[in-house]
Amino acid sequence: MAKVEKVKTPKPQELSQIDFKPPTTDWMDTPTVIKPGNFCWGGKEKDLLTLGLPNPRQWSPADEDWKLPEGWESTILEGMAERLAKYRSFKIFMDICVRCGACADKCHFYIATGDPKNMPVLRAELIRSVYKKYFTTSGKFLGKLAGARELNEDVLKEWWSYFFQCTECRRCSVFCPYGIDQAEVTIIGRELLNLVGLNIDWISGPAANCYMKGNHLGLEPHAITGNIETMCDDIEDITGIRVNPTFNRKGAEILFITPSGDLLGEPGIQTCMGYLMLFHELGLDYTWSTYASEGGNFGFFTSNDMAKRLNYKIYAEAKRLGVKWILGGECGHMWRVLSQYMDTWHGPADFLEVPKSPITGTVFENASSTKMIHISEFTADLIKHKKLNLDPSRNDHLKVTYHDSCNPSRGMGLLDEPREVIKAVCNNFYEMPESTIREKTFCCGSGSGLNASENMEQRMRGGFPRANAVKYVKEKHGVNMLANICAVDRAALPALMDYWNPGVGVTGVTELVANALVMKGEKERTTNLRFEDLPGKGGDE
């Protein structure tokens, strides 16, 4: 395998020089460049074996030979035929695009690269052209004139490159007059690629971990309890209160599931400490699970079947433990899967009850079928009913803005709940420009499994529109903290902020809650959950 040098990410100044002039050659004649810093490593043989995915082998996208299996063409074409028969969305989206171009400058990757193949319309056309060639009369006879082309290895590599440059954020589908959703096309494109063993390591690795060990990080049961114990120690240091979470406890009222990203690394762990403190303060009868220890779902970035296989654990564990309902933590794509897929795959969850807050008595009718609610819904309800003793001044040193994660906004519609929470726990909250928030929010640039390190340039590019909107409020209002409700955001945005907007931190919403939360019997807090001195209370200030 070719050894690829670790590339240096260009400086922001350089990266923001974007040429929007299309190439002189037609896109079908413009070869795809697999450029270091802009792609992720291929999926590992062992992970594909674990998951039982096709064509496990050691390979590198940097090599000329991708070691495709014999007869891969027919595998792809049969795969397309199968998916056309299974998904009306795919069929319609292949057929009705008029190439009006409304989606083009809505994609963060297009805005940040100027590469026309990153326009959602052209990204879809990469696969539409093959669809036309093999599945439509006009394409068969008119060929290139109808926008059709043969499937060959270059086309396949192009798919791989560009379907792993789409974060399935659905922003384009907001603007499409027919609601064509490039996420749907990308999802199916990635499924097809997976049929011939083309994946990326940053997806198949976590997926394999999640399948075997219950979570993406591959934390074994004792590691999960260990990590959380450490957090409890920290909480005790900060508040003087010992919280005692339980694991795999049968008969608990609530099963709590969060992305495993919250169990390791900052600022995820502070969000997790926030959950622990909040639940302790409420005296919530809840349990963690080491088996269903992942809210996120990297299977969703592999194939529908894979997503279903990983998602199974949530209801299965809720059933085994005999809980009444499920509470979910802060995560992005997790909530797309939970709202739009889980119930269809593994429902009906008739062994659970409609979630009812034991504190306020609010019945969450909006989750009457899935029986799973979002921590922001839960917390917003607590705050509305004044069940939390909050001191927002503890967050006064923060000027907060809020990043809507793509999936909760465009695959669920969770927009106001986290804002209500933030406004109750922070005195300084500023919205980013209207075109960059809520349903029009920009992706962090690292979603859908692209949060690796080898593609840092790509990630910094993809996050450019988001970062630029943060920069706007940073300059206008002095914003220094970017709140969010997504584990991938918490992992990806710190690097993005350091790159584009140094000095802006990243936090989960529940961390802000926990910092403001005045717990019963707590000692005078001198630091926040990051052990940073609280304004006016620290020893050094």
């Binding site: 969305s89 057929d95 190439r99 400058d105 603007f175 529908n304 296989r309 519609g413």
Partner: protein, 333 residues
């Protein structure tokens, strides 16, 4: 190249039409057989395409939520863009289909270099929306107006529509507003494909061809009204003949009529083969036409795929010792 090819294709169609128009012996073919054929292809093809879509299930409920979900009672739900009722979906779809709601949201992204680094700005961009709206509505009104040739007696509503359309009372015969809007809009839609580099880059021959064809239809219509006049009584007799399945071919209709009707027939026949099927597709787009009540009502996938799971029992078997050591309860000791 793509533009040229599409233009040539339409020119060839026009030439064929002119040949038909000036060859009296072909009038029956061009005036009667081809229109019937085109209508059959249109209706048959349209149904075929829609049924083909319908044969694929919608396995998951995947509306694009473009507003606040229904959750806590005091949080205001966006009942149209995140609809949890059939009525909401109907309103959402009506706004999409009648007023191009999503296109109305369009923005234009602009990158500039400020003193403190790059600045991305998102400006309003309503021209495409406006152009499309004028194009489609004008097209529809023109089509309905043409019913005066196909209906006898002509319903009052169509006469009203026509008098509103000609309200300016300019010219003789009076200029129709929709004719003007239509020509301007179709020209705009064409020019933006030529002059916006990104759009030119993504445009295919299949994008230019219908534009040219529609332009030629509109132009021949206008020519027929003002310059190459035809005998409208004869035209109507032919049209009614078609509509009553008793085709007649009155003499002396005028050549431009045959050119016009041949181009219209071409459009009808081409329609189901092309992207123009967005007309039917928009009704069936799962990101827009579904109720966003996923968490309230279970959606059924007819092919809910059987897959292999890693069960808790397997998990416990693998980690029992470690679990016990960490004090985690297990099923089997």
């Amino acid at each position: 190249m793509k533009v040229l090819f599409s233009l040539l294709a339409v020119i060839v169609l026009i030439l064929v039409a002119i040949m038909g128009a000036y060859t009296t012996s072909l009038h029956y073919t061009f005036g009667i057989i081809i229109p019937y054929l085109a209508l059959t292809l249109f209706v048959g093809g349209f149904i075929y395409r829609v049924v083909k879509w319908g044969r694929s299930p919608v396995p998951f409920r995947i509306p694009t939520t473009i507003g606040q979900q229904k959750s806590l009672p005091w949080i205001k739900q966006n009942k149209i863009e995140n609809p949890t009722s059939t009525l909401g979906v109907i309103v959402r779809m009506a706004l999409e289909i009648l007023f191009f709601r999503s296109l109305f949201r369009n923005t234009k992204t602009e990158l500039s270099q400020g003193p403190k680094g790059p600045i991305l700005a998102y400006g309003s961009a309503k021209w495409l929306w406006l152009g499309s709206l004028f194009f489609h509505w004008s097209f529809l009104i023109i089509l309905i107006r043409h019913l005066r040739y196909f209906l006898d007696p002509i319903p009052f509503s169509i006469q009203i529509l026509e008098s509103i359309d000609g309200i300016l009372q300019i010219g003789l015969p009076a200029v129709y507003l929709t004719d003007a809007f239509f020509l301007i809009a179709v020209t705009y839609l064409f020019l933006r494909r030529i002059f916006i580099p990104q759009l030119k880059y993504i445009s295919l021959a299949a994008d230019f061809f219908p534009l040219f064809l529609i332009m030629s239809i509109a132009s021949t219509g206008v020519l027929m009204r003002y310059f190459y006049k035809v005998d409208l009584v004869a035209v109507k007799q032919l049209a009614i003949g078609l509509a009553t399945f008793q085709p007649v071919l009155p003499s002396g209709i005028g050549a431009m009529f045959f050119v016009h009707i041949f181009l219209v027939s071409s459009l009808f026949a081409y329609f189901p083969l092309s992207k123009l099927m967005h007309m039917g597709g928009i009704f069936m787009s799962p990101t827009r036409n579904m109720i966003s009540n996923n968490r309230m009502v279970r959606h059924i996938n007819p092919w809910n795929q059987e897959v292999k799971y890693h069960t808790y029992e397997q998990y416990e078997d693998e980690y029992r010792d470690k679990m016990k050591k960490a004090g985690i309860p297990v099923e089997k000791e």
